[in-house]
């Protein structure tokens, strides 16, 4: 289909016959990657917040992802593979979503002026989605790189040391707000964009979706803040033993690599 286009850039014969199918596919991929990322972030939050149930709970979740309970031995490489998939999704999503960014100051100023004049919630929410999406470019990168390269350093003490003694908490705090705002608005927008759950009274559905969106955002922010506080507390307590790995009492020290 694209052969002639690829020979003469921008003026292929295929274009003369039929409009490219690419915009349709890119739109779907943008939404699909956003959806998977947002759902992943929910799961991620539940796993991370296992620390609220205690160090052993978080250790168990971590080891589960490292295949410890299947292979009888931890393979942090599994985590790297999962992280690599997330990185790929994020890169694709960001590359597609960036097409919607204001491309120059004039567009940004126009949008902001329009937003202030309209005082219209969905218009304002998109702006925050844009701002948080932009922030995520920078905030997500260090975290993902760390997880990709040092997947073995996840655990009750290991993570807490990183949060407190290695000063990662400001990044996590910003990341929490950016992801929750961005993902929450994103999921709501996905539903109205594709007309999901519209039913017989789409306006009522939209009101409910909006209420749900806010409820979820508040819930995950609260859970996230409580979780971060827990890691900070453990990090402070553990500050004089930085670098020590966590080994639950129930496990022989030699069993964990």
């Amino acid at each position: 289909m694209d052969t002639s286009s690829s020979i003469v850039t921008g003026a292929g014969l295929a274009d003369a016959v039929r409009k490219s199918r690419l915009p349709a596919r890119l739109d779907v991929v943008q939404s699909a990657t956003g959806l998977v990322l947002a759902l992943f972030m929910w799961g991620h939050m539940f796993f991370v917040s296992s620390i609220l149930l205690g160090k052993d709970a978080m250790w168990t979740i971590t080891k589960m992802f490292e295949g410890y309970f299947i292979f009888g031995r931890a393979y942090p490489g599994i985590v790297s593979v999962v992280v690599a998939v997330i990185v790929l999704l994020l890169v694709v999503h960001a590359a597609l979503a960036v097409r919607k960014f204001p491309i120059n100051y004039r567009q940004l100023r126009t949008y902001r002026g329009h937003m202030k004049l309209m005082r219209h919630e969905d218009t304002t929410l998109w702006y925050w989605q844009f701002v948080t999406g932009f922030a995520l470019f920078f905030l997500a990168a260090p975290h993902l790189f760390q997880m990709l390269t040092q997947p073995g350093l996840i655990g009750p003490y290991e993570s807490s040391d990183r949060v407190w003694s290695y000063h990662w908490w400001p990044l996590y705090l910003l990341l929490l707000f950016a992801v929750e705002v961005h993902g929450g608005v994103g999921l709501y927008r996905l539903a109205v964009k594709w007309g999901w759950f519209a039913g017989s009274n789409p306006d009522a559905t939209r009101r409910r979706l909006k209420a749900l969106k806010w409820a979820l955002t508040v819930f995950f922010l609260a859970l996230g803040l409580a979780t971060l506080a827990a890691y900070i507390r453990i990090g402070i307590e553990h500050a004089d033993r930085v670098g020590e790995r966590y080994v639950p009492a129930s496990v022989q020290p030699g069993a964990v690599k």
Binding site: K19, R21, P23, A24, D122, V192
Partner: protein, 265 residues
Amino acid sequence: MSMFRPTATHKVIPLVPADGAQPGNGGRIRVHAMRYNPRDPGNAPRLQTYELEQAEGMTLFIALSEIREKQDPSLQFDFVCRAGICGSCAMVINGRPGLACRTLTKAVGPDITLLPLPGFELIGDLSVNTGKWMRAMSERLEAWVHMKEAELDLTRIEARMEPELAEQIYELDRCIECGCCVAGCGTVRMREAFVGAVGLNKIARFRLDPRDTRDDDDFYELVGDDDGVFGCMSLLGCHDVCPKQLPLATQIAFVRRKMAAVGFR
């Protein structure tokens, strides 16, 4: 928690006065209207304030007419039908697009700021050339029933249409091309080539029409790109300001699903 407002306060004429407005007659209102003549080189846009007595059941259109009659004959604004049918009197009322003839001063006053609809060619003051924009849009989207040449027989009796279908088409045909959805759309404001909700609604309308022989591949040629339906960022400003309460959100989502499906065929 939710700040959700499904409709702009000035969207429909409310039967009861909006909160805070004095009931019944009276009270003075101040109309702050943008004054600007784009053809006058030394001229800069400014707001001019007119004060007047609020009459019972006064609409913005009545207020503007009174201003033009008694205070300032040079003030430019458009109207034809005075009944929300022609779409000429759309303007930005306290920040949101709406129809002047369908807005009670009581519901938006006592201080009312009026701006011309953005996104359209400014004729002067509050008057814009929506017609030119709408015509270009119609031509671009070929917003008319397409029949095959061979089948075009004007003597033949038109095929019957199911009443439910006719009703559905009529629902979308209620669009008065006022331009509020365009002015209320952050996407069109940033990217002028974007078709806007009014255009996507037309596609939905002709897609329903059994007399129109175009299929989804044909419609894809018209709106299957980022200036078309995939450019819409689902801000739903259009839906929330449309003075005819057209179901724009669901129609755009519907067109989007159909056009996305074409992309995977």
